[in-house]
């Protein structure tokens, strides 16, 4: 067993540098690495490229990094619900690359799996296809998309062990497993950190080989964007 445990978020993010490419797991605010983001906010960073399905909201998640002007470029599939994002985008301070969600997921997966490029039907005939190679397979057109990798990937899991094995809960899994594999250094924060051997190997979603650092997270807010309830 290789012990991946670090003391806390501050230690985990200590060597993150300006102009780095970062990945963040999460869909909306569900399954985002809250502790790592908070720790990054306390560092003097700029020029970051952030790959994340969404860009948080004004006062939470990656939205806070935008407020501090740490981000040069966002690579995402959907970036609504964020006024500061909109302001920086329209003023030209922030660069944005919008990618179909399935293509984003697969580009990250490809990055972690050693597949430099792949063909997908998503975006054929749209501006997403501009400048990309098109090829016909069995009578249908597909476009070539390249892998995505990161200097650091930040993921959040429900449970993890000291060997870096991760188990996610509900739909908070989303982009986290692929990003764990696509980061040169992957930093996992978990709600419950247990000694190696305590998690059932049959239930591991992300094997520890992809995780370089793991720490016990704290004070999770787990904000809900659209609280929707039924009466009965």
């Amino acid at each position: 067993m290789i012990n991946k445990t670090v003391a806390n978020a501050e230690v985990a993010v200590a060597d993150v540098f300006s102009n780095a490419v970062l990945m963040f797991g999460g869909f909306g605010l569900s399954g985002i690495p809250e502790n790592s983001i908070k720790a990054l906010l306390n560092k003097e960073l700029h020029g970051l490229t952030c790959i994340s399905n969404n860009a948080g909201v004004d006062d939470f998640g990656i939205g806070l990094m935008l407020q501090k002007r740490m981000v040069k470029k966002m690579i995402s599939s959907y970036v609504g619900e964020n006024a500061e994002f909109e302001r920086q985008l329209l003023s030209g301070e922030l660069e944005v690359e919008l990618i179909p969600q399935g293509t984003l997921a697969e580009r990250v997966r490809a990055g972690g799996a050693g597949i430099p490029a792949f063909f997908t039907p998503a975006g054929v005939g749209t501006e997403v296809a501009d400048g990309k190679e098109l090829r016909e397979f069995d009578g249908k057109l597909y476009l070539l998309e390249r892998w995505l990798k990161a200097d650091f990937a930040f993921v959040k899991a429900w449970k993890g062990d000291t060997a870096g094995n991760l188990i996610f809960k509900g739909t908070a899994r989303n982009f986290n497993p692929m990003m764990a594999a696509a980061g040169k250094i992957t930093i996992a924060e978990v709600e419950e950190l247990v000694p190696a051997g305590e998690l059932n190997p049959n239930e591991i979603h992300t094997p520890g080989i992809y995780v370089q650092r793991i720490f016990q997270g704290k004070d999770y807010e787990k904000r809900i964007e659209q609280r929707t309830v039924s009466r009965k």
């Binding site: 869909f27 569900s30 399905n53 970036v79 984003l104 997403v128 739909t171 809900i224 964007e225």
Partner: protein
């Protein structure tokens, strides 16, 4: 003219037992309210769930369980959870039978535009481009005309395209319209109290009218 709930109710009649279905945000989400209980269908949420259940009661709200519209949800019996890559693999792989989504424009050859308005803040396409590039059957739920009265059923889309030649059927506040495989719209049903002439007048694209056009039933 139909209201949003009635559009959803009419679309629910297209659903068949045994289907895996992806519902988009807006009117499509409402379709779930009208799928008869005796149909065996599974709703897919592209953020990683097969088997969307009803919205939770206050005491069952779980921040780790949301749909693609970021609303809190529950899981139905027999649900499965997975990551985003697997989710879109099942979409692109043709395993999801039916996709129902909203649109700003549909052209007579089945092109759809629903993600971007030039000059306005672009929020992104989310999963829409992957869904429309892959699903076998795509039904669009939308108003027949824009707020300023312009037809949304066009010869060619004027807005940036989300996907080409993919829409099979459109249900609007005025009509049920098929997109013919060779191009062109065909009027299938009209909303209660709406005349065929009104639908023709409010459709810019070619509209084929064959025989008596029945009024929708629910």
């Amino acid at each position: 003219m139909l209201n949003k709930d009635q559009i959803a109710q009419r679309i629910a009649k297209e659903v068949q037992s045994g289907q895996y279905i992806n519902l988009g945000i807006g009117i499509p989400t409402l379709v779930a309210n009208y799928i008869p209980d005796d149909l065996e269908v599974v709703l897919q949420s592209e953020n990683g769930l097969l088997g969307i259940g009803p919205f939770p009661t206050e005491d069952k709200v779980d921040p780790d369980l949301i749909n693609a519209g970021k609303q809190t949800i529950t899981m139905s019996k027999g649900s499965a959870l997975f990551n985003s890559s697997e989710s879109f693999a099942m979409i692109r792989g043709g395993h999801v039978h039916l996709t129902i989504l909203g649109a700003m424009e549909v052209s007579e050859n089945g092109d759809i535009a629903n993600w971007k308005i030039p000059g306005k803040m672009v929020k992104g396409m989310g999963g829409a481009m992957d869904l429309v590039a892959s699903a076998e059957n795509i039904i669009v739920a939308m108003q027949h005309c824009s707020k300023d009265g312009q037809s949304k059923l066009l010869k060619e889309c004027s807005l940036p395209i989300t996907g080409i030649r993919c829409v099979k059927k459109i249900v609007t506040d005025l009509a049920v319209v098929e997109v013919l495989p060779e191009g062109g719209f065909r009027l299938l049903e009209r909303a209660p109290g709406v005349s065929v002439q009104e639908i023709i007048d409010k459709t810019e694209g070619r509209m084929l009218i064959e025989g008596e056009i029945p009024e929708m039933s629910f």
